[in-house]
């Protein structure tokens, strides 16, 4: 079977699965799976760029996704004028001092000769900078968080259209990736893994604790939407007329309309990125990346700047994850930092890439859809299996209750088994690299 037939076949299978969900369960759940599948596919493309093209092991996807989420708040929420007046200048000044301190410390370490004096000077620069930073930062934050803490208590955003947050989310993630890449790339691959794992946890900790930025665990809800609200559609006579003309219940029609709107926007982004990634893969740049991945020493001998190329592709891949994260938060309509879990946002994306086929863009997209579908559907399937297994047991028995209560944990188990099976029996994924 040729590769393109296989590609069509597998994508057809995914389409059938989603359509099947529509017929069996409901069209709303089918569209929900489709929308999150589009977002997941985008994340998988980002990871595939890093791992599949360049062999970089990034397990900090969650952090970049969360930065994208932060971008939606910063861009789209209306500004809280009182908070800006009270503490914005203080916070900005503090952040500027912090950045200056770091820059100065780096400058000192670059300029001075190695030895104790250098360590002492750079350490004192850091300590002094930290003290000034805290002195400016703490009172300003207290001022901001005092303003109507039940509703705002944060700076708010810029009040711009939410779609603008998508590229900005990419930029934020790219910035973070540049900093990490500068420090951790060029070291061993495992070290990059640990470094990215750590930075992701730190980003989540910042989101959870810096209430002035995005309200922390109090969450930001009611993000502006790029599509109309269901209730407005239901009150729009033209829409009601069209819905009844199609023979669909108006409430259902409005929810479907909104989800389709999201789906179209996501699809445009995904196809755009996919086309770009595909062009990149077959370009001289893509060949160079693969050459570096397959034999770093040889590529270096041919005059390729391996570290710079690694940094480049790491930043690009992370930016794509940031865009996907902003899209996801837009779809959710809220930013809930506590919901970011590494198993879901980092390792699940890795399962998608590995199962789909690393190094193949279509494979990553396929993996995104397929694994997301399974992630959603394993729970009802697992529940059915458990019901079947426990049907013979007496009602009220301890084991039966325990098994039925544990259905939700089937997901992790299934994903692990799928990953291990694919790695063992089809190590190059469903759609191998050509």
């Amino acid at each position: 079977m040729s590769q393109s037939v296989k590609t069509f076949g597998l994508f057809g299978l995914v389409a059938l699965l989603i359509l099947g969900t529509g017929f069996v369960q409901s069209w709303n759940s089918a569209l929900l799976i489709l929308n999150m599948g589009l977002v997941s596919a985008l994340m998988a493309l980002g990871v595939n760029l890093q791992w599949g093209f360049a062999g970089l092991f990034n397990v900090g996807v969650m952090g970049f996704v969360a930065l994208g989420g932060l971008a939606t708040v910063v861009i789209a929420m209306p500004p809280v004028r009182a908070a800006w007046a009270a503490g914005a200048s203080g916070v900005l000044a503090a952040l500027a001092v912090g950045a200056l301190t770091l820059a100065l410390a780096v400058w000192v370490t670059r300029r001075m000769a190695r030895g104790w004096p250098r360590a002492l000077v750079s350490l004192s620069v850091l300590v002094a900078g930290f003290v000034i930073y805290r002195a400016l930062f703490d009172p300003a934050v207290a001022e901001i968080e005092r303003i109507d803490p039940a509703l705002t208590g944060y700076l708010g955003g810029l009040g711009l259209p939410v779609v603008l947050a998508w590229p900005v989310g990419g930029l934020l993630a790219a910035g973070a990736a540049w900093v990490i890449g500068k420090t951790a790339l060029g070291l061993r691959s495992d070290y990059l893994a640990i470094a990215t794992l750590g930075i992701a946890e730190i980003i989540i900790a910042v989101l959870k604790n810096e209430d002035w930025l995005a309200r922390g665990v109090k969450n930001v809800i009611g993000l502006p939407r790029p599509v109309p609200y269901e209730i407005d559609l239901q009150n729009d006579p033209a829409f009601v007329e069209r819905a009844t003309g199609l023979g669909i219940d108006v409430t259902t029609a409005s929810t479907l309309y909104v989800k389709l709107g999201y789906g179209l926007m996501f699809a445009v982004v995904l196809i755009g990125v996919l086309v770009l990634a595909q062009l990149a893969l077959s370009s001289p740049w893509g060949r160079m990346m693969r050459a570096i991945r397959d034999n770093e020493v040889a590529a270096r001998a041919m005059g390729k700047d391996v570290t710079a190329r690694h940094l480049q592709v790491f930043v690009l891949g992370s930016a794509i994850c940031g865009v996907a994260g902003a899209m996801m938060t837009t779809l959710d309509g809220q930013l809930t930092p506590a919901s970011y879990q590494p198993l879901r946002y980092t390792f699940l994306i890795w399962v998608m890439v590995i199962v789909g086929g690393s190094g193949n863009n279509f494979g990553a997209v396929l993996g995104g859809f397929l694994i997301w579908f399974l992630w959603v559907q394993v729970e009802p399937i697992g529940a059915a299996v458990i019901d079947l297994v426990t049907s013979g047991m007496a009602d009220g028995s301890w084991l039966k209750a325990h098994l039925q209560g544990s259905v939700q944990h089937m997901r992790l188990l299934t994903m692990g088994v799928i990953l291990l099976l694919v790695l063992r029996f089809a190590p190059r994924g469903l759609l191998p690299e050509r």
């Binding site: 062999g55 092991f57 070290y191 750590g198 730190i202 944990h409 692990g416 990953l419 291990l420």
Partner: protein
């Protein structure tokens, strides 16, 4: 100035918790470092291996408690620990047989093994949550304190009290015994020496007739033992929650890398470095400063460098500093 009270405060809130936490991290990091030295990959499933071992221990503890067995002042979990270790050994040996051995025979790149360990992590995580649930579990019993704050105050007449929990004392004692046994095993026994030989130079070890499969099996047995002890001690001292164990991965890896991957002494040093910095940087030093500084200088802020929620940031920053300045770690580890 009141140096004595300041010291007591320092010991109560920084030294003792950090020593206990450091011992737990060191045991975890020893497991990571052993796998790295012998099997040559970073095992992402280690946190969940710890969780599995601790879970078996907890289940046996509950059974023992149900039968009315107890150790008096000591936690019953100590009695259950050997069963936990056996359970964990069975699990890792089974995993090695079903999963890792295939890749070892193929001599795949280490990074592939890391990805494989990610899959194993998912499975362990799922199994643990499936059996015991995702919530907090308490299983500590026996005497709560070796010496409580109130007793200490009555005993010494000091203003500040020093409390030592049984679990903290137990952690340190158990860790010392475990580490002593481990080092005796690695340095004095024939098997231990063959393990170190295998770690130092695989080809030479094979040439000398060392059976690699046996070395790998012994390694897994040691790792299971260390992971279960570390997991159980952490659970006793704090609380058992599967997700916390997954999050322990970062400080545990940081400890192993800071000490030098592949170096057992380094893992222990790294564990304490990470623990002391985490506790020290997230502790509010106001009280200590109040006792040490003259009244006029007393600070009005808490003197807390970072909020406790940023403790991951601390291990991370130390990790980055060590990687930048000395990539092989404090004690020359491997750098493949």
């Amino acid at each position: 100035m009141d140096i004595l009270n300041a010291l007591v405060v320092l010991a109560n809130f920084v030294l003792i918790p950090a020593i206990a936490y450091g011992a737990q991290l060191a045991l975890g990091a020893l497991g990571v470092t052993l796998i790295y030295g012998i099997l040559r990959f970073s095992n992402f499933a280690h946190g969940d291996t710890m969780a599995f071992g601790a879970m078996v221990t907890i289940l046996v503890t509950w059974a023992l408690q149900g039968w009315g067995v107890s150790l008096g002042p000591l936690p019953t979990a100590l009695l259950a620990l050997p069963f936990g270790i056996l359970g964990c050994m069975a699990l890792v040996l089974l995993t090695d047989r079903l999963v890792y051995r295939f890749y070892r025979a193929q001599r795949v790149k280490p990074v592939i093994l890391v990805i494989v360990s990610m899959g194993v992590m998912f499975v362990y995580n799922g199994v643990v949550r499936f059996v015991i649930g995702a919530d907090d579990q308490r299983f500590a019993d026996g005497e709560r304190f070796i010496i409580s704050v109130r007793d200490f105050k009555a005993l010494t007449g000091l203003e500040e009290g020093l409390g030592i929990r049984t679990t903290q004392g137990l952690t340190v004692v158990t860790a010392v015994i475990t580490v002593a046994l481990l080092f005796w095993f690695l340095n004095r026994t024939r098997t231990g020496k063959s393990m170190r030989a295998y770690s130092d130079n695989e080809d030479l070890a094979l040439l000398s007739g060392i059976n690699p499969e046996r070395v790998v099996m012994i390694t897994w047995l040691l790792v299971a033992t260390l992971a279960t002890i570390a997991g159980t001690l952490y659970g006793l001292d704090k609380t058992f929650k599967p997700f916390t164990y997954f999050q322990l991965l970062l400080p545990v890896f940081a400890s192993a890398i800071v000490g030098g991957l592949g170096s057992p002494v380094g893992a222990i040093a790294g564990g304490f470095v990470i623990a002391f910095s985490e506790v020290g940087i997230t502790y509010a030093w106001k009280k200590v400063a109040e006792y040490l500084l003259p009244e006029a200088w007393e600070p009005d802020s808490l003197l807390q460098l970072l909020g406790t929620d940023y403790k991951f940031a601390v291990s991370f920053v130390i990790l980055v500093i060590v990687l930048l300045i000395r990539p092989t770690g404090l004690f020359k580890g491997k750098s493949v």
